[in-house]
């Protein structure tokens, strides 16, 4: 009897937690007041940091801001933007375009910007893009680069039995093996799928020599920490992924645009590397603190 009551209490408690968790869901249909901007972010630290930067920059200029960070994937937050549950979110140009238009072929930053304007729904717009990019990048060790005289992806063509490690989708996606074959003429690649998005396992495989080339997101601190050489991509095989504010048209007042454009003008890939490094490094700095520090350094608040 006692056990039953305990189990009932535990069930009730977990149900409560579940309901509480649901309370934070952006799909609860609540829209923000017309003078308030609700800022969302995707569910990974870098995006959260940029969202914090937007939020604090706007607040400093007297704009009312509400935050609904950590909203999972595009399938969730793009509809939330369209319905007005959130108004602003940091996006990446290439991925946003391919989400909106599955057949998009643009890869250079300019082509993507132009295509985005057409692909976006009427109610949404993107503002000025930042120089900062977080995209797939092919990396080799310093030693491998020197030994084989490799600087760009094109230089990989002469290496026999090239071993490449990346997320599983790299094998079939246009920017992956098919693109390396078609655009750079690199054939006979031995591919190893490592499902950690260029994380520690991919890094270890590269450092151990199990693979020669690793696909690691360009703002991952491990690239700098291990002196990896990121190969240049002269043919724009990998689509540009510049950071850009995606905003509901009706909330994009001149004032808001000016603030966000000023942020984008300053934000570089190196900044993202530093911010991610501090966030993931030993001190595990919080996104809000990192955002404040960055804005202060750049003289934006």
């Amino acid at each position: 009897m006692k056990m039953t009551r305990l189990a009932a209490a535990a069930t009730a408690a977990s149900l409560g937690l579940f309901l509480a968790a649901c309370g934070g869901d952006p799909a609860d249909g609540e829209k923000s007041a017309s003078d308030t901007i609700t800022i969302g972010s995707a569910a990974f630290p870098e995006n959260e940091i940029i969202a914090e930067i937007y939020a604090q920059a706007l607040e400093a200029k007297g704009v009312k801001v509400k935050k609904k960070l950590n909203i999972g994937a595009r399938e969730v937050y793009i509809p939330a933007l369209e319905s007005g549950e959130i108004d602003l979110l940091p996006e990446y140009t290439g991925n946003l375009l391919s989400f909106l238009d599955k057949d998009a072929t643009a890869t250079s930053p300019e082509e993507i910007e132009a295509a985005l304007d057409d692909a976006l729904p009427e109610t949404l717009e993107v503002l000025e893009v930042a120089a900062a990019e977080d995209k797939d990048s092919l990396n080799v060790t310093q030693e491998f680069a020197e030994k084989n005289g490799v600087k760009t992806i094109a230089d990989l063509k002469d290496i026999d039995g090239l071993k490449l490690g990346a997320n599983p989708e790299f094998r079939t996606r246009a920017y992956g093996i098919p693109g390396l074959e078609k655009i750079y003429g690199i054939t006979g690649i031995k591919f190893t799928a490592i499902s950690d998005g260029g994380g520690p396992k991919t890094l270890k495989a590269l450092l151990d020599g199990d693979i020669d080339v690793a696909d690691i997101y360009s703002t991952t601190p491990s690239i700098v920490e291990n002196n990896l050489v990121t190969l240049e991509d002269p043919e724009n095989l990998i689509a540009a992924q510049n950071v850009v504010p995606l905003i509901a048209e009706k909330k994009a007042s001149d004032k808001v645009e000016d603030v966000l454009d000023a942020v984008s003008a300053e934000l570089t890939t190196q900044d993202l590397l530093d911010l991610n490094g501090k966030n993931q490094g030993p001190d595990k700095a919080k996104p809000a603190d990192l955002a404040k520090e960055w804005l202060t350094d750049k003289g934006l608040i």
């Binding site: 490690g165 599983p168 989708e169 094998r171 799928a193 499902s195 520690p200 396992k201 270890k204 199990d210």
Partner: protein
């Protein structure tokens, strides 16, 4: 087009049946991982289980130990070990051995425990050595339960060997992980069906083996006391 018909298309596409990424190669890899794992686990667990069952020593420890092993989530073990072993089979095999040891161990010691005390006493009274008692009396009588442990271990391993794909190597898990990565649902379903079919097939095989283990010794079936 429905997912069901797309899955059928996947199975009928010849491209999915040849080369390194084809079904036959994936099945061979998958069975290979399973065989290696179960062999290592059996080599470790069965001798220990027989010793525990024969001597009656350390049984409590074995129960606690295998209970603790059972509680380890295989995917967690693979992911964690993968950080140290790199993109090869080591992490997968270790994690799957951890999964296979408890049923093998339990099969071995509980098999011996099921042998009637009087039978063993009779064997001892006839002047058999301890080794003879183990190999000529206890193991033959316990064989159906030992094979049962092997069956349970093999099934768990063949169903779980899909995690190998998570840290690099192949096997049928590739269809699941690669399919999920590009939201290719038919490929994921096809991979799952292949794993299920393989598991059922192996299980049927073990049913036959267990039957032989019982009927091979009609006079010495384990008592039901």
């Amino acid at each position: 087009m429905s997912v069901a018909s797309e899955t059928i298309d996947w199975f009928t596409d010849p491209a999915n049946w040849s080369g390194d990424y084809g079904v036959p190669n994936r099945i061979v890899q998958h069975l290979g991982y399973t065989a290696v794992t179960v062999a290592i686990a059996a080599a470790l667990a069965i001798p220990i289980g027989l010793w525990i069952g024969h001597t009656g020593r350390l049984r409590g420890l074995a129960v606690v130990f295998s209970g603790a092993l059972r509680a380890l989530p295989t995917l967690g073990v693979v992911t964690y070990l993968g950080l140290f072993t790199g993109v090869n089979l080591t992490a997968t095999v270790v994690a799957l051995v951890v999964l296979a040891v408890p049923p093998l161990l339990a099969g071995a010691y509980s098999g011996l425990e099921s042998v009637e005390r009087q039978t063993i006493d009779a064997a001892r009274a006839m002047g058999m050595t301890e080794w003879q008692i183990l190999t000529k009396v206890e193991v033959p009588l316990a064989l159906p339960i030992i094979v049962g442990g092997l069956r349970s271990a093999t099934l768990q391993v063949v169903a779980t060997a899909t995690v190998a794909a998570y840290v690099g190597p192949g096997g049928l898990g590739r269809f699941l992980i690669d399919g999920l990565a590009v939201r290719d649902t038919p490929q994921v379903i096809a991979g799952s069906l292949l794993v299920i079919a393989l598991a059922l097939l192996l299980d049927a095989l073990f049913v036959a083996v267990q039957r032989v283990a019982i009927h091979g010794h009609p006079a010495v079936q384990p008592s039901r006391s």
